[in-house]
């Protein structure tokens, strides 16, 4: 983030691909002790290795110990609220035996940080974390060797406290990390086999730690891309079509050109107005007269689901077990149900923003992005420039949730900066943010399932259209099982959606969990068994049983067959290696259809917990945000026209939506840290649906469960 304290290289020898020899590398980062490593070497299990595969095998991140003892961690990851600035610093501090305060984080700067694919998929802690810990442990080991030499004792007689190495039993014989690093130029490539600090010895990790960025954020000092100011910078507004797929037929910019200080740029498909005052640029944009050919709308909110089923690509089969016909035959109860889920926006409070400054054939970019390195490549390709002439820096990002991976705003600012020769800032309006968002895709799930006379699920025939496979994996013990995935969340077929779709916090898992866990409850009610008991009876997955029991204990769950009138619901699931079980109490009104969630309890097993405070925050965040897609968020559209343009019609969860929230971290120190930023959101659709059914005996099978849909479910009976 802040880069003022980095020694800048004297000559511009920056190869951002990191094909550097060690001498260049040290020249770039200054002296001291530098450890670099490759994330790919440090994957913990074959399953994780598979998910982490996109990491390259180049040296991939590093840390530096300065002569003043300051430790700097360089990472291509970015901070968008998920708290990794703090948790990564904790990991480095733990392994180095230093105070958290002595760690400085440099994040998302393509000149200073080695390549990284981006910050998404709850992967920072899982995949980057172990490598960073190993690098820090390795640095500590180098420092101990140096100290042993300096203090003339063997390594095993040394102890470390707060970055000071001393001789055990003779504390005054000591030397600090800074003194050891002074005058040294050591570059060390991590090779594996490094011993990490065991959980029981944790001093920094595992302790509730407040965010390192909190002070800057409560005083207004934290800088986001839109807060960067440069001399002579211009603010740009770009002409937008009224609908996706619309073609410009005529444009008249003469009125805009007459406005003082306005610069109009027309470059192929890019028509923009620029001014030193962003509001004047916006006013100039309004004065442009443009006409478009808008294709007739083929789909809208109501018809999209049938359309998706019609155009879905062939199924990818997963979890194939037993024989569906045999399962159907064995069933005493059969349940067939379709579930629908609409398009949902990311709607970060900070809209997409970028500032691009051209200078001497190079571009410096400040972007609100989850993917600084891919953005660098994207801009290089668009402008036909070598990537090493482009530096992308990532200040604080004002929310991402998967929506800040595409770099359209940066592309626009970069093209305009090159065309005008001035620094250009593009900040999307809220309407532009809704228009160009890569929505969570609408999706359909069909489930045909059966339960035998003993109350065991004997059939599971599951088809998901366009939500993808994440979260569709079966963890109930079903002998006759088939999961058919028709279309991944990126779209499957390019023409399926009338606009862009993309990853949204726990992509696909929200839809799949809503469908599966609703179906489980329908079966439990049909059989006449308490929904918790039905789940416990139908899975032997030890982690799932533990989170279910932990949630039930905190919630005070008492068995009853739904609908009990209490308005209690339950849902569970697995995401990013983490297990969750959520319980909710709701009040639902049959007449108005209004639902108020009163209380949520969520139990989560995420392996080793690096920062319990951060993990709890992320769980609360997921549970609160998830109330939106469960109850109110639904993009309205007609063909390529997006009808929601601001928060007056697109309803986010508010303070008045907020239930009492309780979280439980289920201890599991046997397992390396798993994902934390996404898992707890996946159960929110189902837990609320199941609680509504328990309250009023009516079940909405379409998200969001708006008052109208609840009333419709009541009318259906």
């Amino acid at each position: 983030m802040a880069n003022e304290d980095i020694d800048q290289p004297e000559s511009g020898v920056t190869d951002s691909r990191w094909h550097l020899n060690r001498r260049d590398f040290l020249k770039l980062v200054g002296g001291g002790i530098v450890v670099f490593f490759t994330v790919g070497d440090w994957l913990l299990s074959p399953a994780e290795a598979q998910r982490g595969r996109p990491y390259p095998t180049d040296p991939n991140a590093y840390l530096r110990i300065d002569k003043d003892g300051k430790i700097t961690v360089f990472t291509g990851k970015i901070e968008m609220g998920q708290g990794v600035m703090t948790s990564l610093a904790q990991m480095a501090a733990e392994e180095l035996d230093v105070a958290l305060e002595s760690i400085h984080m440099i994040m998302g700067d393509t000149d200073l940080c080695p390549w990284d694919m981006g910050t998404f998929g709850s992967m920072t802690t899982r995949f980057f974390g172990p490598a960073l810990r190993a690098a820090a442990a390795s640095a500590r080991s180098i420092l101990l060797d140096l100290a042993a030499e300096r203090l003339q004792v063997s390594r095993d007689k040394l102890q470390v406290e707060n970055g000071v190495v001393s001789v055990a039993g003779n504390r005054p014989r000591q030397v600090s990390y800074g003194q050891l690093a002074l005058g040294k130029q050591i570059a060390h490539q991590l090779e594996g086999g490094t011993q990490l600090t065991p959980v029981q010895d944790f001093k920094v990790m595992g302790k509730a730690t407040r965010r390192l960025d909190a002070l800057d954020k409560v005083t207004g000092q934290a800088l986001y891309a839109g807060d960067i100011r440069l001399p002579d910078m211009l603010y740009a507004k770009v002409l937008r079509p009224p609908a996706h797929g619309a073609g410009l037929t005529s444009v008249d910019t003469s009125a805009a050109e007459k406005r003082p200080g306005v610069r109009v740029v027309k470059d192929g498909d890019l028509i923009a107005v620029l001014h030193r005052d962003p509001e004047e640029a916006a006013a100039a944009l309004q004065s442009i007269k443009a006409q478009y050919d808008v294709p007739a709308a083929e789909v809208d909110n109501a018809t999209i689901f049938d359309y998706l089923v019609k155009v879905a690509p062939p199924a990818e089969q997963q979890d194939v077990r037993g024989d569906l016909a045999a399962g159907e035959k064995a069933a005493r109860w059969l349940v067939k149900q379709r579930y629908l889920d609409g398009y949902v926006a990311h709607a970060p409070m900070e809209t997409h923003t970028a500032l691009v400054a051209p200078e001497n054939g190079r571009l410096t970019i400040w972007a609100s992005t989850q993917t600084p390195f891919p953005t660098q490549d994207q801009i290089a390709k668009v402008l036909g420039m070598p990537p090493e002439k482009i530096r992308v820096m990532t200040p604080f990002v004002g929310g991402g949730f998967g929506g800040k991976s595409a770099g359209r705003q940066t592309e626009e600012a970069a093209r305009l900066a090159v065309l005008t020769g001035k620094p250009v800032q593009v900040t999307w309006s809220r309407a532009e943010e809704f228009f160009y968002d890569t929505f969570r895709p609408a999706a359909v799930v069909d489930i045909h399932s059966g339960v035998d006379a003993a109350g065991r699920i004997c059939l599971w025939d599951y088809t998901v259209y366009f939500a993808g496979s994440r979260g569709s994996e079966q963890y109930y013990d079903v002998p006759n099982n088939l999961v058919k995935v028709r279309g991944e969340w990126m779209g499957g077929t390019t023409s399926a959606h009338p606009f862009a779709v993309g990853p949204w916090r726990a992509p696909g898992a929200n839809t799949n969990t809503f469908a599966r866990e609703s179906q489980i409850d329908i079966m439990a009610a049909r059989v006449g068994v308490d929904p918790l008991e039905f789940r416990l009876d139908n899975t032997t997955d030890a982690r799932m049983l533990r989170v279910l029991r932990a949630a039930a204990k905190r919630f005070g769950w008492k068995p009853a067959v739904a609908p009990s009138g209490r308005g209690w619901g339950i849902a569970c699931g697995i995401d990013a290696g983490t297990y969750i079980a959520t319980m909710a109490a709701v009040a639902a009104d049959k007449q108005s259809g209004k639902v108020q969630v009163r209380r949520i309890v969520c139990a989560q097993d995420m392996g080793i917990v690096v920062n319990p405070e951060g993990a709890t925050l992320q769980m609360e965040s997921c549970l609160t945000m998830g109330l939106g897609y469960a109850l109110s968020e639904d993009i309205r559209f007609q063909g390529g026209r997006i009808l929601d343009e601001n928060f007056d019609t697109y309803e986010l969860p508010r303070f008045s939506t907020l239930p009492q929230i309780e979280t439980v971290l289920v201890e599991n120190d046997e397992l390396s840290p798993q994902g934390g930023g996404e898992p707890a959101i996946i159960g929110m659709g189902a837990v609320v649906a199941n609680a509504i059914f328990d309250a009023i005996g009516a079940r909405p099978c379409q998200l969001p469960m708006t008052p109208q849909r609840v009333r419709e479910a009541v009318a259906k009976g």
Partner: protein, 154 residues
Amino acid sequence: MKETISFTLNGRPTRLEVDGGRTLLWVLRTELGLTGTKFGCGEGFCGACTVIIGKEAVRSCQVTMSEVAGKQVMTIEGLAQGGKLHPLQEQFVEHDALQCGYCTPGMILTAYALLLQNPHPSREEIIRGMDDNLCRCGAHKRIVEAIQGASQGK
């Protein structure tokens, strides 16, 4: 049209030659370099741009410079006094009442005005008072707790 507008900003007399029709939000963010006041929706729906005028929490995207003339304006940069955080800021840090931090200045200043009017609000009064400020990260629970903390003088 440019006019001379005088007002008090974070306790300091301020005089600007500026078009009276410009919004306070963008004048703060550009002319005055006070970027703690955030642009979120531009139409007064989200509260990210909230500042204090007099004793009221106001959406600065909905206020013109002409309307600011002669008024006392406080932004998030003016809340801490003499290097000491305001109790609300302390409590937001203490409770981890933020994530991406983008809505935070508006949240704190809305809460500031709420506590001026009602120094000891109930949980329900806090929820009602904050309901038009949006947070996408879902920090609501912590924000309520932070405001409760500040109101109890913790």
